[in-house]
Symmetry: C2
Subunit: 220 residues, 2 copies
DNA sequence: TTAATAGTGTCTCTAAGACATTATGTG
DNA sequence: CACATAATGTCTTAGAGACACTATTAA
């Protein structure tokens, strides 16, 4: 029995970066049809012989198309249907990646562009829905996890950490409350070194206590 | 160009029900190979001609295989890889459904079985991972949304609502605090009628203010 | 010294938790 | 009436928010 179906299976990746204080998305100019020449999310086909699973596909596609190895790559959602791709009934398993700005600047290649998510050009396929879903996921998890910290380099100051939460949640947070929360949840630990250079008291550097995502204590 | 790939695309559904006070999963005895005769999640192939998208596939498969039309059906995760299905490299887009016990009893058909999630038999494929992911999703959302209420019939008492949260979260909640929370979030509204029959004061009946999932106010 | 941000302390207010009290039905 | 659960109130405590105050650097 032949189980092959007429479904196009792809992986697309929403690469989120904080660039110049704005939440931005990584886009590539498409070299081929459909939508040749348009900016779109990096994506590609699954290579069953090469990829153990779709997470491997996502990491490979991101690496091959942008040169980036992301410290945070999570499955977002699978988008599907008859009309989202002009080639036919398609299924795109989408991932989102959070990357420090420094990583993008160090390893970006070719036709790669960072565009602020607000004010981005309309994207082909249903890529706008994908970007919106990625932002919503990031926002949602930001209230109860260390997720936004993955937009920062490995060490950071508490002011930088607060700032990234503020940008992601699009709100101002109180410095004292934020620090008390961070302290209570034990999500960061100080490292040797301070950030100096400005005309004020230097700031202690920290890193995440756990290298992977941690969720805050929650109760109903 | 032929975009067909050697990937088996299926949809599987984790049907969660509160049955006799225990969180349970709906299983079907498989009529065909692989794993013929074993209890497994309801699942099926995508029918591109018939299904607008995978959500439609999920609803159709659930209806055809169990007779159930679920009031809550949400995409869970896509599981993939070379080894999870003996037929080859496969991709299963999984959904989870929450259904009131009454709906299952009214419309179940054939070889359908409800099994408590604790103490279920080992499931074929990677269906145990899928069930675990569904429970984890339900638990996670229970702390900040009305999700557990979809395990109840349309009208319910506050004691029943509290009980379903307690079963899902596997914890005891304080009656007074729970009611204050429910009141503050405005997630339910009273309907005409009370639940009587026991030797004590009758309980007011309520329903969800919004027919769809609502999330509680959260802050970092 | 001044300006700027780092870092901490204090007060208030909201809400969760523990637990008591009143309300209202059935047997 | 007895008794069970519904429904509400009270007190305590934890934490968020607002904001003041001290600390430490570069210019």
């Amino acid at each position: 029995m032949d189980y092959r179906q007429d479904i196009i299976v792809t992986v697309d990746i929403a690469l989120l970066v904080l660039s110049e204080g704005r939440l931005s998305i990584g886009l590539l100019r498409r070299p081929n049809e459909p939508f040749s020449g348009r900016l779109a999310l990096p994506g590609g086909f699954v290579h069953p012989e090469e990829d153990d699973d779709l997470a491997a596909t996502a990491a490979r596609v991101l690496r091959e198309k942008t040169g980036i190895v992301s410290p945070y790559l999570e499955q977002l959602f699978s988008f599907s249907g008859a009309v989202r791709d002009p080639r036919g009934w398609s299924l795109s398993v989408c991932y989102y990646a959070l990357v420090p700005g420094e990583v993008v600047e160090a390893s970006s290649i070719g036709e790669f562009e960072l565009v602020p998510v607000d004010g981005r050009p309309p994207l082909p396929f249903d890529h706008d829905r994908i970007v919106d879903a990625a932002i919503e996921r990031l926002r949602g998890k930001a209230t109860y996890s260390t997720l936004p910290a993955f937009l920062l380099p490995e060490t950071f100051t508490l002011a930088e950490l607060q700032s990234v939460y503020e940008h992601v949640l699009d709100t101002k947070l109180d410095k004292s409350s934020f620090r008390k929360k961070v302290e209570a949840q034990g999500i960061v630990e100080p490292v040797k070194g301070v950030r100096r250079g400005a005309a004020h008291r230097p700031a202690q550097l920290y890193r995440l206590s756990a290298s992977r995502l941690t969720e805050f204590d929650r109760r109903i």
